[in-house]
């Protein structure tokens, strides 16, 4: 077997000449635990970092990865990502399974034709093989772009009937009463507030994404202080709250939403028309209401998981009712009667919507 190391261009750097030192049997392979000839070097003479090989050439060769950085030799991506990518292209599951038992690790590297190495075999070969793979990748990308994956993803957090019936007996009137659901997002609020209530927060939506989006709207990365209540997101309850450092930032936030047209109207049972701001993050729409009353506490979304889930069900129902109102108003404005509006009217007649009352009780 050749004694030369398998090292990618990224690790070798741009220098033409590199001084590389070889230490026979100098290290233990991180994957197979067998000893191998260690090589260590610097990218350039002035570099502080010493790069050394951590895998034996046999393991690196089997997986078609660099002995130093463990990234794929062709695409320069981790094995895990390469397998995911190839799984998408080939339409079957490709994974690299590493042995956990020490004996097995040694056995697999010495045995020819290790079947646990995932997509590495697809990468090793001549140019035409890679060209074909790239063409398949192009086709996959076109195929996936036209698929309805994003719409499917929205259904992950749908509340099942089982959940709805399981938490039907949980009483959260005391929580709903304190939420600012009857407030409206307008430019001329009688009492300016720095706190806002957010709902329809998907459980996959990261807090930092909400933070980044708000920073983008108010053009200030430090719009909140370090207090944990300045941004409290409860993914179980699918709602949360944000508190700006001052009135100016809060005003800027409201103006930002209104000026970009990210506002919807909804109607209560009393006939009162309310406005909700929409915070658009990726393909999620978060609804925003000002929290005018000074009644927010850290228990405002409940005290336990059951209350959180019940609150999420209630808010989900609220959103459905609000969407129906939006649908009916848009239909009225165009003068057309759509199937959705007919359905909503018939449901109103059957008083099913009545469960979501003007005060948004259960």
């Amino acid at each position: 077997m050749s004694t030369s190391p398998i090292i990618c261009e990224e690790c070798l750097g741009k220098e033409d000449d590199i001084r590389m030192i070889r230490v026979p049997e100098g290290a233990e392979c991180k994957l197979c635990t067998l000893t191998f000839d260690l090589f260590h070097f610097k990218k350039d003479k002035r570099s502080d970092t010493i790069i050394k090989t951590i895998l034996c050439p046999a393991c690196a060769n089997q997986r078609n990865i660099c002995q130093c950085c463990m990234l794929d030799m062709i695409w320069h991506i981790p094995i895990e990502e390469r397998d995911q990518l190839l799984s998408l292209i080939k339409r079957y599951n490709i994974t690299t399974k590493e042995a956990t038992n020490e004996m097995m690790k040694r056995f697999l590297v010495l045995k020819k034709g290790n079947k646990q190495i995932g997509g590495a075999t697809m990468m090793i070969g001549d140019d035409s093989k890679l060209d074909m793979l790239m063409q398949e990748m192009r086709d996959t990308l076109e195929r996936e772009k036209s698929s309805t994956f994003t719409s499917e993803s929205k259904n992950i957090n749908k509340i099942s009937k089982h959940d709805a019936s399981k938490f039907a007996n949980i009483n959260i009137h005391h929580i709903i009463e304190k939420l600012p659901l009857s407030e409206s997002l307008t430019k001329e609020n009688s009492t300016p507030t720095t706190r806002f209530f957010l709902y329809n927060i998907d459980s996959s939506l990261a807090e930092w994404k909400i933070d980044d989006k708000i920073s983008q709207i108010v053009d200030d990365g430090e719009w909140k202080d370090l207090h944990p209540l300045s941004m409290m997101i409860n993914h179980k309850a699918t709602c949360g709250t944000i508190n700006f450092r001052n009135d100016k930032l809060a005003e800027k936030f409201v103006n930002g939403l209104i000026s970009s047209g990210d506002v919807i109207s909804c109607k209560t049972k009393k006939g009162e028309v309310l406005q909700r701001g929409i915070l658009k993050i990726e393909y999620f729409n978060l609804y925003v209401i000002p929290w005018i009353k000074d009644n927010f506490t850290q228990n405002s979304f409940g005290n336990n998981t059951k209350e959180y889930i019940k609150l999420s069900i209630t808010l989900r129902n609220l959103i459905i009712s609000e969407m129906k109102f939006k649908q009916s108003t848009t239909d009225k404005s165009t003068g057309r009667v759509t199937k959705a509006s007919r359905q909503s009217k018939s449901k109103k007649k059957s008083k099913k919507v009545g469960r979501i009352t003007s005060s948004f009780a259960l």
Binding site: S4, P5, I6, I7, C8, E9, L12, D17, I18, R19, M20, I21, R22, K30, L31, D37, D48, T49, I54, C68, C69, M70, L71, M73, I74, W75, I77, E80, E81, L85, L88, E98, D127, L130, M134, M137, T140, L141, E144, K145, F149, S153, I156, N157, S203, S204, A206, E207, W208, D211, L226, P228, L229, M232, H235, Q298, N299, N303, N304, T305
Partner: protein, 306 residues
């Protein structure tokens, strides 16, 4: 510009305040290599509250680290770097935009990762997959048994972990009295793990603050994958999206490389034409820069041949 760039890092402790580094005796033989006592009673408890703690705002700053240094100071993270501005490593909170880990096989402190996680999920971690989620245990001990509501504990965790990097999600599990904190990036999770290990959850305005050293610190470990079916679906979805993005970038890179090769050939062809040499223009050789393993560069000292 980040605020830490405008000033030099602070010396967190004086050298005289540091202990000799030998942990309290709980065995008969001291292992100098691992800095541990061994051969004693197996029930020895190594849990303690660290007397040092990182103050993100005050301690962050520039150091004597080189421009290509991507390694963070482990002692800075633990709140006990006596070198301050003279330290050769970085003294600030990792920023995913600027501070990319030098290698996937090393953590942000330059320590080599392992093939597998340790059985107790502590330690440096594994290079097999990126794990941005931390398990937080020993919460009651870290609070000196102070009775708090779940939401108060969650907020306290949020208060102490938020300055250490962008957080994706914090979940406190009431029944198990543990929490899971998912960071945006693995680099922040690696850093936060060192910062918060063996730290108290008490705050200066608590009555119990003076007795915080009597308790035991937080137990911060790597989290296993979330077994929740919804979480699995979400993970699959995220992976799918990232794979598509990766495909786009790879195809773009592939096309660019192809174009650059064509242009090179075009230039060569026109040069040949200008010379009006009788020789035909060279045939285009399709080459990809990241195609086959590069030729080995074994220069210099070879101890095997000696």
């Amino acid at each position: 510009m980040a605020s830490w760039k405008s000033h030099k890092a602070r010396r967190q402790v004086k050298e005289s305040d540091l202990s000799d580094g030998i942990p309290p005796q709980n065995g008969t033989v001291f292992n100098q290599w691992y800095n541990k006592w061994s051969h004693g009673s197996s029930s020895s408890n190594n849990r303690f509250v660290s007397p040092f703690r990182l103050n993100v705002e005050k301690d962050s700053g520039t150091t004597a680290s080189s421009h290509d240094c991507h390694t963070f100071c482990l002692y800075f993270a633990r709140g006990c770097c006596a070198l301050g501005p003279k330290c050769q490593y970085l003294h600030h909170i990792p920023d995913s935009h600027e501070d990319k880990p030098s290698s996937r096989v090393k953590d942000c402190f330059g320590r080599e990762k392992h093939s597998q996680y340790r059985d107790d999920m502590s330690g440096v971690g594994s290079f097999q997959s990126l794990n941005p989620t931390l398990y937080i245990g020993g919460i009651s001990n870290a609070l000196n048994e102070k009775p708090l509501k779940p939401i108060q504990i969650e907020n306290r965790l949020k208060y102490v972990f938020t300055p250490l990097g962008p957080i994706e999600k914090i979940r406190y599990v009431e029944n198990k009295n543990c929490a899971f904190i998912k960071f945006k990036d693995t680099i922040n999770a690696e850093f936060a793990k060192e910062v918060m290990s063996n730290q108290s959850l008490l705050l200066p305005n608590d009555k119990e603050w003076d007795r915080k050293m009597d308790g035991m610190g937080l137990l911060v470990k790597w989290a296993h994958e979330d077994p929740d079916p919804n979480a699995k679906k979400r993970r699959a979805m995220e992976q799918h999206q990232s794979s598509l993005k990766l495909m786009e970038s790879l195809l773009k890179q592939y096309d660019d490389d192809d174009d650059s090769e064509k242009n090179k050939d075009k230039i060569k062809f026109t040069e040949n034409k200008a010379k009006s040499s009788p020789e035909p223009a060279p045939k285009r050789q399709k080459q990809k820069p990241i195609d086959t393993p590069p030729a080995p560069l074994v220069l210099g000292y070879n101890s095997d041949s000696d």
